[in-house]
Structure formats: structure tokens, C-alpha cells
Amino acid sequence: MNGEKLNETTNKGIFLSLDWWTIILYLVLLVWGWFSVCGASYSFEHPDLFSFEEYSGKQLVWIGTSVLLAAMLLFVEKRFYELSAYFLYGAMMFLLIVTIFIAPDTKGSHSWIPLGAGIKLQPAEFAKFSVALAMGKFMSRYGYELRRPKDFFTTVGLFIFPMLLIVLQRETGSALVYLAFFLVLYREGMTGSLLFTAFAAVVYFVVGIRFGEDMIGQMPVSVGEFSVLLLAQFFTLGMTQVYGQQWSETRLMLYVVLIADVLAFLFSKFVIPFDVCWVLLAVVVLQAIYLVWLAVKRQSWRHALIAAFALFSASMFYLCDTLLEHLDDHQRVRIEVLLGKRDDLRGAGYNVNQAKIAIGSGGLAGKGFLNGTQTKLKYVPEQNTDFIFCTVGEEEGFVGSTGVLVVYLIFILRLLKLSERQPDTLGRVYGYSVSSIFLFHLFINVGMVLGLTPVIGIPLPFFSYGGSSLWGFTILLFIFLRMDAERNLKRQ
């Protein structure tokens, strides 16, 4: 009897301490998203926006059920997730494994389970919240220490495992989203050098592939290889200074690097042309040897790791080519198109180019609701789903698309703020997971439409048509909002 009463007051208190700002932003994005789906899918032969035969009508059903789902989730206590986090994780992983085998081939991917009546479910979209919960629970364990290798690798394993399962479903795009969890780890104290290494790897990859076949002037030197090795030298220098804190050592290294590079370059240019990259490579190896020597001398793991970084960097250019060769054809083409190595406007570059044209034609104020000629005449493929931002750009122009980005930014910043105010690790880790996932989706999806990131087929949350993704994001968000609403309750 007493417990019942307590529950009642808690739920009332919960209602009052809910973060209504986030809910309002959520609703704004939902409504805005629905109008965009209307714009993208509207056909003048079937003008009824509310007909359930049309995408706009169906999306309305998804929105309605999502709001219902959200309301229901607000009644599930945080304690439930604390208790069942691992169980939920296990169940979702099981579902992901089963999906690999039972899902029929849908455009080459095996990630959709047909539920009958033309409705299909994509478990990959739902798995994220369970991973975030499991991570949160694992990291709030007594004595958890992120910097301890065992704890670190187990945590990473928690999200790499579903990632691999989704890759096996041939949904590489959805799998990549799980990389967002690294941002959470960074917040929880992972060393920045790892993020920096990842960043450096991306830079090497882009520069190495983009300029791999260009030559410097008349010399037999590849611009890509030269740049990658030069970057490797200076990144190594920078890390030596930042983590070693010994200017005299860094200076010695800097002089060697500068003198060797400049001499080699001048010799190649004015005396006998040769491939300067061999010298640069030798310098990087020399740097690594020096760092190993420092590591031994000082008994410092840091220097050993920087040496490893140097060698990894030097091998990147060669790894890139090998990696590119092992990608599927369509993935390689997408990357080459993005990097401007290919100009294939009728083939793989078609989507991106049409998307850019659609957005560019929007101008300042756009062409008006349902008036986008580019999207209406179906020049842009996948415009309901992955390329939905085109419709915003074309029909609502710079004003509308900037508006969407700004609302999103506020939404994400608000979520980050909520995450910071969580009283425990579970809430904080979960909150950061939610924010990072939304950020990753925004970054990749809008970036690909604008021609800035590779074409990776992931939806723009709340905008892209589809029930699975809308439900997935709603679940992700409202579990967190309920957790946040409990922040002021005293724990028993």
C-alpha cells in the first residue's frame, strides 16, 4: 500500500521533472520530418497526403505509434534497465544473429525481417539502445577502470560485436554508426591519442588515395605518398612533444627531419631525380628507432606507443591501396567519387551530384512546399530515406536547411547537457551514447547529401521515411528522458 503510493507520487514528480525542452525539439523534428517526407514522396496523381497508400500517410502512422511508444517508455523506471541491461543486450545480439540467417535479400542486404502485411523490421536500428545500456551498466561496475586494458577492451567489445554482426548482414552503413561509441569512451577518460590516431588514419587515407597517382613536378615522386609520410613525420613529432614533454628530444628529431627532407628534395630536384619517399620513409623509421631507444632508456610505454604510431603511419599509404583493393566494387567507387578521383556523373556519382543540384537549386528561400522540381521529378534517388535532406534543401532553401541543422544542434547540445547532469555513470554513459549516435547520423547523412562524406546509407533521424529507424530513435531518446527525469529522486 505504501509502495503503491510512492509509485504514484514518483510518476507525478517524473512528469514535472521531465525535460520538456527536449520533448518539444523532438516534436518539432518529427513534424518537420513529416513535411519533408510529404515533399519527397508527393505525387500529383495521388494527392491525398493522409492516404495510407502513400509514404506520407504511412509515415504518419509511424509518427503516431512512436509518440505512443514514447509515452509508454516514460512509465518504465530506470531500475528496470539497470536490472535487465545485460538481458536486453543478450536478446538483441541473439536477434541480430538470427537476422543474418532468416532475413531475405533486400538490395543485397540481409538486415530486414518481414513481419507480413508489407511491414519489415530492421533489428540493427533497435540494437543501439541495448548496447548503450549494457555499456553504461558495465562501466558503472564497482572498480571499473577504463584505462585498465581488460576493462577497456571488454567495453570496446560490447559495441564492436554488434557492429560485426551488422556487417555480416551486409549493412556496413548501419554498422559504422557504432563507431560513435568511441566518443562516449573519450568522455569517460579514454586517452585522446586514440581518437587522434583514428583521425590521422582518416587523413592518411584521404590524402593517400586522393593524390596517390599525382606526381610532384617532373620528379618521380607521388604527391600522396610524399604527403602521407611528411604528415607521419610531423604527427610523430607533435606526439613526442605532447606526451614526452622534452623539448630537447623533440628539437633533435625536428632538425634531423627537416635537414634530411630538404636535402633529399633538393638533390632530387637539381641533381639526380629519384623517389624522395624512400628518404622520408627512412626518416620515419629512424624516428621510431629513436623513440624505442627513449622508451627503453626511460622505461616509458608512451614512447613505445608513439613509435608504434610512427610505424603505423608510415605503412598507411601502402595499407590504403591494399584496403581499397579489398573493398567491394561499389564501395570503392563511392570512395573514389567522393575523393574526386572519378567523375562518374551517370553512375555512382549520380546520386550525390543530383543531390547537390537539388540543394543548390533551392537558393535562399527554396521553391516552396511540394514545389521542388528536382525531387518531384525523381531526379534524386532514395529521396524518401537517405537523401531526404535534398527535399529540405530544395523546397525550403538555405533558410530551411540551416534551420534543420540549428534545431538539430540545439537538440544534441541539450542532450549533452542532460548527460552531464546525470547522477550516475549509467545515466551519463547512456546519455552520451544517445547524443553521439544522433551526432554521427547527422554528420554522415547530411555530409553525404552535401557531398562531403562518403555515401553511407544511414537515415537522418526523424526525417528519413521508415518505421524501424523512427521507433529505434524514439526508444533511444525516451529511455534517456525517463532516466533524466529520475535524476532528483533519492536512490534507496
Binding site: Q374, K378, F398, S401, L409, Y432
Partner: protein, 617 residues
């Protein structure tokens, strides 16, 4: 930190949006291209006339059936298939072909795609009545080439749809465009095709045309193609084609003063009207398989031993080089004899000086001439040097290289030179080894065009203008290379002796069959041994002697003596051209020659057998 990343990303994307939407006009222009509908307007292709203004090739409307896949809902497919005379499977196959972006890169379900090109008039009239029932299908009018006469197929050539390779070569073309594939349709494609126009139409979001963009400020009117007037005389051409019926070979006539080709007959020929419309592909394949090779333009692509017609060029060379004088006489005892070697000749009085030697076509005379030239060690240090000199004379007369006529696929023939023989015999060769080239046999090969051009050079007494079949490009100009005067290495005074010899040949020599002509015709026969059986019959001539209007080559494969086919056909052609018509007796003769066919069955059977055994090996 993560918040900072989020802010940076959003700022970067806003900057990108500003660039795409506010700053860059490129994407706006592209969007215009795409959202607005570029309606291509096809220009009419140039019309082709003969030298007397007879229309030879013109355009006729044709209809392509277009489809907008998106509007096909509710189509009674069965009814449509019945009307079009196709099966349901064919329909489905065609639709999936259209929708395949690999094969049809510009596919959009919202724009017109070609369903079938060049509907026949019958299909079109049936379809037109029912078209309102077939939603999503439209008719696009185009034009097709029509030929007014059954003549001149090889020269005119034809047009057909561009291939992907053509589009690759010249981005002017788009899939579905037509271009010249053979003959002057191909060599004058740039003049004939004109320039496509465009209407930039505004479309609303429903794809409906709203009118011209900016009141047509960006529209471009199509430029019609340029009309061509050929130098061909259709009447002469028609007579030539009649005379060559049932014979392999060629007739080429040139106006000496201008280099204009008056007729170009290649036998066997075909009716250009057979290649009109949709049947082209099928007919081309059929004709490609024909062992008599009707698609081959033998006038420029057939290379033959010129036989005795070549002796004129030898006489000129020997005179200019001082090897002989007009008075030099060489013995001929039924041929050229030296030691055990003999090159036979027919019976005639001997020894003969130059003029009668040409008139009677004495083999011995020209054999001795070349023998003395190649063995003249006071003038030439080596036989190689003598041979090179000889080759230079031949080249200056238009042999050994393409003449540069304005038709595709001309061949160059063969004039051997010293390195050629060095390679064939080692350096161990002498005048006797090559002696047969002096009578147009051996290695020498000329095209009928080159032989006719030799006639023009003699008629002009020492020069020729590049032969060409187009006389005038309306609103354009002929290429300079077609009007260039080429002077031979032989002085005009020497040409007079050759003219005299050729006149004598007509009056009382080998070309007596042309003696009836009421003007001063000159001629030279050729009877060319060849590996295909019976000798080829050749004639080279011009008329009138002192103010030549026409130079001609007649070449009839396996026609035996030059006098059998070459001379009478040549005479009829010259009569037709100079008098504008044939006399009644000549008309009867022409009728007889038209029906005098040569059987090539044994020859083609033998050649096919040889080819078969070759491929089996």
C-alpha cells in the same frame, strides 16, 4: 568537447549550404538544365543534287514511338502488343531494356524514352488512331533519308543511328541521333548534319510543360544542314550502271580540267532505297555475306593490275628521262626476248617507234624501254637509284598513294620501289626480274580511280586536280586539298606524243571500237593477267583530243581483251557525256552490253573453297 565537435560540424555544413545555395551559380545552372526540359529540335539534313540539279537524296518524315514509364498505369498491354504486332514477352523485354540504367544511362521514368524507332507508315497510321488509349506513349517525328533514284549507292552512302563509339568520339551526338556511315553521307557529315536546336522549356513539379524559359531567351534554332551538289552526272551514272550489270569492275569518269568525278560505277551495285528505314541492318548483313561483295566500292577500293593502260605512263617517263626519243624504235619479235627470257606480244610490224608502239600496244617496246632505263649506269649509279627515279615519276602521276578523293576508305594501290625489291629478292635482282611492271603487270596495282586520273593527266598534258565527287557545298566551301593542282614530273611537250599514240589507237590500233565516235577520242586498252582466271578487260581514254571534256577508266574483271568490254563501254560513256545522249545504234549496243553478263560462279566457288580450306587449316 563533443559539443564542440557538434558545433563545428554544423557550422561547416552551414558554410557548405551557403556555398551550394547562395554562392555557386554552377549548381543552379545544372538544376535549370535538369529541372527544365531541354527539348531537342532536329535540323533537316542537307539535300543532295547531281551536277545538273537533279535531286538525289532528300528527307521524309518518320515517327519514333516514345514512352514515359511512369504514366503506363492502366495500359491495356495485350491490346497494345496486338496493335504493335509484338508478343507480351517482347514488350516486357523492351521495357526492362529501357529501364536498365547501364544500357540507357539517361533513363528517367518521368521523361520520354525511345520505345521503337522509325515506325513504318502502316504501323504509324494504325497506332495513331489508338494512341489516345495508350496512355504514356507518344510519337516523336524525325526524318529519314529517301533516295530518288536507284543509282549511285556507293557514292551516296547512307545514314544510321550513332554507335556508342561515335558518341565517345564526338559529344555532339546523343543516343538515337543519326549520322552518315558510308560514302559522302559520312565524309560530308559535318556539312550535311547541320546543328541541333533546343527549346528550354519550364516544367512544374508535376513535369508539365509551362512554357519557354525566359521567353525563349535560351532557345536555339536548329541550323539546317548544307545542301550538296555533286559533280556526278546522273544520266552518265545511270548508263554506266546499266552497262556494268552482271559484271564485276568499275567505271570512273573525270572532268580533266576540274578533277570533278562525272560518274563512279562499281559493279555489282545495289539500290540505295533498299537501305531506307528499319531494314538497313538486315540488308547490310545480307549484302556483307554476298560473295560478289556488292558493298565494296571497287572504284576506290578495288586495286587491279592496270595492264597496258600503264604503258602511257612508261612512255612519258622514258621520254622525260631521255631514255628514248619519239623516234627511238625497239624490236619486237612477237615479244621482248633476251637470252632465254621472253615476254610475249601479239603480231604487229616491227620495229616500231613510239607512237605506233602505243597504238598497237607493243609489249616489246616498253620492255626494252624499262630495260634500258634500269641498266643505264651513266645516268644512275645503281639499279636502285634508277628504280627510285622511276617510282618518283609514278608517284607524281598519282599512283602509289591515295589521291585524296572526298570519299571514305580509298585505297592507295601499289607502286613497287627499290627497297621493295631488295626485300623480295635480296639485292640480287635486275631489270629482267621486274620487266613486267613496264606493261602494267607484276607488282603494280592501281585503283580504277587512279587509272581514270591517269587519263585526266594525259588529257591535261601534265597535271591533275584532286578528283572529287562534290562540286559545291551550299553556304560552305570545298576543302582546299580537293582543288589542288598536282603537276607531274613530265613536261607537257612529251604528253603530245602519248596523246597522238592514243588517238592512233582509236583510229587504227587496239581501240578501233571507238573510232565511230563523232569527236576525236583517244584511248588505250589494257588486258591484265590476274590470279582470278580470265584476263581483266581495261580501257583508259579521254575526249575530245584537243579540248578534253572527259577522261575515263573502264575496268571489267575477267572481261578478256581490253577491246571486248573496255573499249565499247568506254566509247558509249564518252558519247553519252559529250553528246548528252546515245545515237539509236549506240542505244542498241548499250542494250546488248547491259544483258551481256559474265559468269563469276566458277571463280567465287574456287575462292570460297580456298578460303574454307585456309580457315580449316
Amino acid at each position: 568537447m563533443i559539443g564542440g565537435i557538434a558545433v563545428l560540424i554544423v557550422l561547416a555544413y552551414i558554410a557548405r549550404l551557403a556555398f551550394l545555395q547562395l554562392m555557386s551559380d554552377d549548381y543552379k545552372a545544372s538544376a535549370d538544365n535538369n529541372a527544365f526540359y531541354n527539348n531537342v529540335i532536329y535540323p533537316s539534313r542537307g539535300t543532295i543534287y547531281d551536277r545538273n540539279g537533279k535531286m538525289l537524296v532528300y528527307n521524309q518524315p518518320a515517327y519514333d514511338l516514345m514512352v514515359i514509364a511512369n504514366e503506363l498505369e492502366g495500359l491495356d498491354t495485350l491490346d497494345f502488343c496486338r496493335t504493335m504486332g509484338m508478343s507480351r514477352e517482347q514488350f516486357d523485354a523492351r521495357m526492362s531494356q529501357i529501364k536498365d540504367r547501364n544500357k540507357n544511362p539517361g533513363y528517367s521514368s518521368y521523361t520520354q524514352q525511345v520505345f521503337q524507332t522509325q515506325l513504318s507508315a502502316a504501323d504509324y497510321s494504325v497506332l495513331q488512331e489508338k494512341l489516345f488509349r495508350y496512355k504514356g506513349f507518344y510519337i516523336r517525328s524525325r526524318t529519314v533519308r529517301k533516295y530518288a533514284f536507284p543509282y549511285l549507292a556507293h557514292v551516296l552512302g547512307d545514314v544510321a543511328e550513332v554507335s556508342p563509339a561515335d558518341i565517345e568520339r564526338d559529344p555532339y551526338y546523343e543516343p538515337g541521333d543519326y549520322m552518315g556511315k558510308q560514302g559522302i553521307e559520312r565524309s560530308y557529315e559535318q556539312d550535311l548534319r547541320g546543328e541541333k536546336g533546343v527549346e528550354v522549356l519550364l516544367r512544374d513539379a508535376r513535369g508539365r510543360i509551362q512554357g519557354h524559359y525566359k521567353n525563349g531567351a535560351f532557345d536555339r534554332k536548329p541550323k539546317p544542314g548544307r545542301d550538296l551538289t555533286l559533280s556526278i552526272d546522273l544520266d552518265l551514272q545511270a548508263l554506266g550502271e546499266r552497262l556494268m550489270e552482271g559484271k564485276l569492275g568499275a567505271i570512273v569518269a573525270i572532268e580533266p580540267k576540274t578533277g570533278e568525278v562525272l560518274c563512279m560505277v562499281s559493279g555489282p551495285t545495289y539500290d540505295p532505297r533498299q537501305l531506307e528505314g528499319k531494314e538497313r541492318g538486315k540488308r547490310m548483313i545480307e549484302m556483307g555475306k554476298d560473295p560478289l561483295k556488292p558493298l565494296l566500292n571497287r572504284a576506290v577500293m578495288g586495286t587491279y593490275p592496270p595492264g597496258s593502260t600503264f604503258k602511257t605512263s612508261q612512255a612519258l617517263t622514258f621520254l622525260q628521262e631521255g631514255i628514248i626519243t619519239p623516234q627511238t624504235a625497239y624490236p619486237c619479235s612477237r615479244g621482248f626476248r633476251l637470252g632465254g627470257f621472253k615476254m610475249g606480244c601479239h603480231g604487229h610490224p616491227a620495229p616500231l617507234p613510239l607512237v605506233p608502239a602505243i597504238a598497237t600496244s607493243c609489249n616489246g617496246y616498253f620492255g626494252w624501254g624499262l630495260y634500258h632505263m634500269l641498266n643505264n649506269r651513266t645516268k644512275y649509279k645503281t639499279i636502285q637509284e634508277a628504280m627510285t627515279t622511276w617510282k618518283d615519276y609514278m608517284v607524281s602521276m598519282g599512283f602509289g598513294y591515295k589521291l585524296g578523293i572526298d570519299l571514305p576508305s580509298e585505297l592507295r594501290g601499289l607502286i613497287p620501289n627499290a627497297p621493295y625489291y631488295d626485300k623480295a629478292h635480296g639485292t640480287n635482282w635486275n631489270a629482267i626480274s621486274v620487266i613486267s611492271i613496264s606493261i602494267g603487270q607484276g607488282e603494280v596495282l592501281l585503283t580504277p580511280l587512279q587509272i581514270a586520273n591517269l587519263g585526266a593527266t594525259i588529257a591535261n598534258r601534265g597535271y591533275y586536280i584532286t578528283p572529287h565527287v562534290v562540286k559545291e557545298v551550299k553556304g560552305g566551301a570545298l576543302a582546299d586539298s580537293l582543288l589542288t593542282k598536282h603537276v607531274t614530273k613530265v613536261e607537257p611537250k612529251y604528253y603530245e606524243f602519248v596523246c597522238e599514240g592514243m588517238r592512233k589507237a582509236v583510229l587504227g590500233g587496239t581501240c578501233k571500237g571507238a573510232a565511230y565516235l563523232p569527236f576525236e577520242a583517244c584511248g588505250k586498252t589494257g588486258t591484265a593477267q590476274n590470279p582470278h582466271g580470265q584476263d581483266h578487260s581495261a580501257f583508259m581514254g579521254f575526249a575530245p583530243k584537243d579540248d578534253p571534256k572527259i577522261a575515263i577508266c573502264v575496268y571489267v574483271e575477267n572481261g578478256k581483251w581490253g577491246a571486248t568490254y573496255g573499249v565499247p563501254i568506254g566509247a558509249l560513256m564518252m558519247e553519252q557525256y559529250i553528246n548528252g545522249k546515245l545515237s539509236p545504234s549506240s542505244e542498241a549496243k548499250a542494250e546488248a552490253f547491259q544483258h551481256r553478263h559474265i559468269s563469276y560462279e566458277a571463280r567465287t566457288a574456287k575462292e570460297q573453297k580456298k578460303e574454307k580450306s585456309k580457315s580449316e587449316r
